[in-house]
Amino acid sequence: MSEPVAVTLDKPADYAEWRAAARRLLSANVAPDRVGFRLAATSGDLFGTRPGRAARQPAPVTICVPQDFPRLAKAVICHSDNARFALLYRLLWRLQGERRLLDNAADVDVYKARRMAKAVRRDSHKMKAFVRFRRTESDVGEVFVAWFEPDHHIVERTAPFFARRFAGMRWSIVTPGRSAHWNGNALTFGDGANRRDCPDGDALEEHWRVYYSSIFNPARLKIRAMKAEMPTRYWRNLPESRLIPELTRSAQSAQRAAPAGTPPSVASARRLVAAQDGMNQEIVSSPQTLGALATGLQNCTRCGLCQHATAAVPGEGPADARLLIVGEQPGDREDLSGRPFVGPAGQVLDEALSEAGIDRDAVFLTNAVKHFKHETRGKRRLHQRPNVEEIEACRWWLGLELELVAPSVVVALGATATRALTGKPAKVADARGQPFTLSPETVGVATVHPAYLLRLQDKEKARAERAQFIDDLRGALRLVSAAG
């Protein structure tokens, strides 16, 4: 049973052909070290095919391979190394006993196969990148032809990409081994050909070279990085590559002429700091309308919150509203859309308002702090409570809104709003039910923030708190009516 078995394959990269041979061998229980694979000198070399005795009598066995084996093998089979067939057979053989072999990327056979597959995929990727079509005219109109020299047997594998991409064009890609053709409907393959059979230029190549040299930034020179991604063996078929020596030389001499390598001047950069620390600037004249206020707000740098928020969110509502509601600050949604109370808490407020019999469109809605304060946690922005300085910095704007709208009643939602209105630290529990005077014409009342209702876990408590919140809003409405 130890006599060697020679297998001759007709095609250099035909997975189905290899698989048929491998099945026969495996069925006959031929160990990998007994098999020698070779390629027929030309396709259909009948005399080269001498299947071994065992291979002629396939025994019915079940061959199991993990799902990722065919994918790996289809790539490996395109490699130019003739050891590929034997390596794949050895893997197949071993997989019958070692089911999870392919998971072990550190195994020598798996490692080799993966490296081959990687080289094939890379070559295929480079073919997608470096094929350069040249336009010619034929009796059917324009035809695009490219000459390309791949390292591996990848034409069949890669051509469908070009068919999907250049569906509306007629094209051929010609390589020394194989060629691929697309007539607008079907992809066909033929034998390889010679560079001389392909067009030797295209009028647009001059444009391409101009683009290549103009997009190059001579202030940087990274030849090694370029060559790693665009290996020199591909250069001879790239119209732009002839520019590389000259571009490199002129960039080098320019760099030599310039004072090179001086450390970055931190001092010069620091000079800017003073000019840039323009925070806490006073806004000179106060805006006279809500529109002017909203515009002015966009330039506010009274505190640092402007640095990371999208933009300030001004109050919204009729300029003659009798009821004005103050929240804490814009949240994520408010920050993105630039409007107050459009997020989850806004929804709670909307429902409560309508249950209390209040028309949202008749209310002026705003926040104590106009920029979204948050910290970033991975891909999310988490709400942070504004501190006293930020509330104080923004009181100026809230005061202006109160002056311009001049409502009869102001509802403070939560502690931040209460503090902003009264100027004193306050607990909602204490302030609730105790109207406070804001001006001779305006009275303030405090209640909870709707976000608080969202946070309550206990359902019973949430229902009770919500009922009380609506009650507070009804109370505010009664105060509005009382003010006449």
Binding site: I215, F216, K222, S268, H308
Partner: protein
């Protein structure tokens, strides 16, 4: 104005665009031209069609529609007070050039930006027109990235989003105050509002799922660019701003572009460019923040005074300041711990976790699973391997830091 040929304009307008760092063409919705008379496809991963000697990939035709500009942003070579040569593409002319480049397989698509002419709306209209011609007149299915003008009207932003795969709006500088100082006509709030509005449109499309509104945005993401070294912001400030942009606007990428001194620079600008390596370190730190579970404070603590270490990468810098965390046993450590090992990436860590289920790993196994075992070795233990001595900062730093820059010679 002298008459310029297309190729003359191309030279001027590509030159003007080369300071834009982005050339990404990945992440678009998958589509192709099969069964159509059109041209073009996007299949997830973009393709880099060439590389310039600066080491950067050339994937897109990256040009300005025009480099005439009425703004006077001090860091920009195209500012109104600069004396560069000016040119302007016609919308049809540029669409045709893009298509012809694409048909020869030079590019994945178009990355279009522009100086501001007449008005932000007018400029944006012209840019959208280029994209419209490509999509509607040429049935072009390739990649389009439009750099939108933040001051343009929301309707124009909408149409831009319908034609483009990627929209971007540059925040330009790490802080609002430096923007006010160096780019007086630009408005940080407007820029952020535009980003917020693109994000809301992207969210809306995601919620609609398979049955989007036909007029919904086509773009699958947005990105931005920050210029590094034109103002005094330190790396902490820059990375904090990035974190806030990623979280707020669901950006695909923040690009860092080292400031390049322009002819006749303003005295408000630093006279020299920052070292290119600073840009590189910021990208590395950005990656650690997004994919490796690092916190900003950890990364910044690896450097000095709010600046990253220029000589070694930020992960190594962190590791050298935390010798107590090493060596890590590759046969037991969690994926999160493995990701902390200098030189070990997400792929290598994943391969280790998978392979070790089948048996204890030795150092030569690790060599096959990763790209550089030399870099990893001092920080790990494996079967039959224990580093000679504990992670000792000075020696390792000298050993692993890049040698001083030497001019690379051609060929």
């Amino acid at each position: 104005m002298p008459h310029l040929s297309t190729v003359d304009k191309l030279a001027i307008l590509a030159d003007a665009a080369k300071y834009d760092a982005s050339c990404a063409s990945s992440g678009a919705q998958k589509r192709n031209s099969s069964g159509t008379k059109g041209i073009g496809s996007t299949e997830g991963m973009g393709v880099c069609h060439s590389y310039a000697p600066d080491g950067r990939c050339i994937s897109l035709l990256k040009v300005l529609l025009t480099n005439y500009c009425q703004y006077d942003c001090l860091y920009c070579v195209n500012r109104v007070s600069s004396d560069v040569r000016r040119a302007r593409f016609g919308a049809a002319e540029l669409a045709k050039l893009t298509l012809e480049f694409y048909k020869r397989n030079y590019i994945e698509g178009l990355f279009l930006s522009s100086g501001i002419i007449k008005s932000p709306d007018y400029t944006m209209e012209q840019m959208v027109e280029v994209a419209r011609i490509l999509r509607e007149d040429y049935a072009f299915h390739g990649y389009i990235h439009l750099k939108t003008i933040p001051d343009a009207s929301p309707e124009l932003l909408d149409s831009a989003g319908r034609y483009a795969d990627r929209l971007s709006i540059n925040v330009e500088l790490p802080s609002r105050t430096s923007l006010g100082e160096l780019a007086p006509e630009k408005d940080a709030s407007r820029i952020r509002k535009a980003m917020a509005s693109v994000r809301l449109r992207l969210d809306e499309k995601k919620e609609k799922g398979r049955h989007p509104n036909p007029r919904a945005i086509k773009a699958t993401g947005q990105s931005t660019q920050m210029i590094i070294g034109a103002d005094a912001s330190d790396d902490r400030k820059i990375l904090t701003t990035s974190a806030s942009l990623y979280a707020g606007y669901k950006l695909r990428r923040v690009y860092y572009s080292a400031f390049s001194p322009t002819p006749h620079p303003s005295s408000k600008l630093p006279p020299e460019a920052p070292p290119l390596r600073r840009e590189h370190r910021l990208y590395q730190a950005d990656w650690l923040l997004r994919f490796y579970g690092f916190e900003l404070d950890e990364i910044i603590a690896g450097g000095n005074d709010g600046m990253l270490d220029l000589d070694i990468d930020p992960k190594l810098a962190w590791a050298l300041k935390h010798p107590e965390r090493f060596p890590i046993d590759v046969n037991r450590a969690s994926r999160e711990e493995l990701l902390r090992v200098p030189g070990l990436g997400t792929r290598g860590a994943g391969a280790i976790v998978k392979a070790r289920r089948l048996g204890g790993l030795r150092l030569d196994d690790i060599a096959r699973l990763t790209t550089s075992v030399v870099k990893i070795r001092p920080f790990i233990t494996a079967r039959g391997w224990h580093p000679a001595k504990a992670v000792e900062a000075a020696g390792l730093r000298a050993q692993l830091a890049r040698p001083p820059v030497q001019r690379e010679l051609f060929a």
